[in-house]
Subunit: 248 residues, 2 copies
């Protein structure tokens, strides 16, 4: 096989699979690994691929671009914009923490008059910027990683509240496994919130759809509304719609 042919073939493989192994290519094309390496080096020289130890990657493999901002901010803004429409004057709203919730807190209308109850200190800070919003902080032991309060005291306080809405952020959700998380304390808090709210709304970027963590929070049928950055008729969301969840 000619060099140009090999190059075309390799380029095709890289773009198809996002990665190639020198050893693998060598076997496919029946040339020595040295030759493959030289090919890859040339293609990398031209910027067609990214050469790495053991093979090469497609240059659409974005790793160099350090997203110093919060991951997927735009998606989270989209979600927050949908979520904010559910909140009406006079409502009692329970929220967890997480960056999606923080985004929601940031875009709340200035004239909205509602009461927000939260275990998340960062979220409380955001809410406090809104003059017409009453903020209730649930107290207890502070979980240092997530900066939310956790424990029996917090749980029992949450259960004493009858909230209109409950916004849950930062989840993994799956049709079979339901809503899951990876922090024991957070799971307890979320459970309590779900049990005491009229409407449970899950905010989730599409990447966390069809994903599972170790600890179960609840089944999908306990969720009333699911909000993602995708359009509601997106294929990925249909299984949830079939389960009776409203998709926004």
């Amino acid at each position: 096989m000619l060099k140009e042919e090999r190059h075309a073939y390799i380029l095709h493989q890289v773009n198809l699979h996002n990665k190639v192994l020198s050893s693998h290519l060598s076997e496919q094309i029946q040339v020595s690994e040295d030759t493959i390496r030289r090919d890859l080096a040339e293609l990398a020289q031209d910027g067609k691929i990214i050469k790495v130890h053991g093979g090469a990657l497609s240059n659409s493999f974005h790793l160099g671009i350090t997203s110093q901002d919060v991951y997927a901010v735009e998606d989270k803004k989209t979600i927050a914009l949908k979520a904010v429409q559910l909140i009406q004057d006079g409502m009692f709203v329970l929220t967890t923490g997480g960056t999606t919730i923080a985004e929601l807190a940031r875009i709340l209308p200035k004239d909205l008059q509602a009461t927000f109850i939260t275990v998340s200190l960062p979220a409380a800070f955001e809410y406090a910027n809104h003059p017409n919003i009453e903020v209730i902080v649930i107290g207890d032991k502070l979980s240092k990683g997530s900066k939310i309060t956790v424990g029996g005291e917090a749980i029992s306080k949450i259960k004493m509240i009858k909230a209109d809405l409950c916004f849950l952020g930062n989840n993994a959700i799956d049709v079979e496994d339901g809503l899951t998380d990876n922090d024991w304390d957070v799971v307890q808090v979320k459970r309590a919130m779900i049990s005491t709210s009229k409407k449970v709304i899950v905010l989730s970027i599409s990447e966390k759809i069809d994903a599972s963590e170790q600890l179960k929070i609840c089944d999908v049928n306990e969720i009333d509304i699911l909000i993602t950055e995708l359009p509601p008729n997106s294929k990925k969301l249909q299984p949830y719609k079939k389960k009776g969840i409203q998709i926004l």
Copy 2:
């Protein structure tokens, strides 16, 4: 799987969940924990993530509670240095908010093991940076200006605690008028704290010595220790020493 693939995967997981465990990743990618640790070290080297014991954290979630231009920082640092000596391992410490308290929180020894109970959200954030300190947040309605929780619920929670020390910041103090403040809710909280603590310590920059506000918190004889940036034998402080207050 190629090293770069792993890096991309790890970075993705970190940004998605804000934290990852080495053990968990090792299982997911099917490589040894050593390899994961080396990956995390490399990514941390590039500033992509923050390496911690047992895994890594996203670096995107930086706390916006940076010490903005605080008035008289140096004086407050001096005060904090004196105050920190009073805290011993195992103590229960009640604190209000304010920048002096924040300064105290910042300089706490890393190996100090104590429980800090606070109504101040900014203070709670600072305490949370110390691995050996247990932080209890007193919940209730959030006072937006001072970012502390206030109300009957908070008061009754405070009264249920028997604290060893109580640090009060941000005051006006006068031999005749006693300790005074200008926010009704804050006054209530401080009263509750004083009533339930073995030792009451007032942190005050010298400007607030011999000054009065509208609302009285307590008489000077209820204060055990007064800490200012001035030397203890300073003339301005002698009237308080005569009243039986220990000066530091």
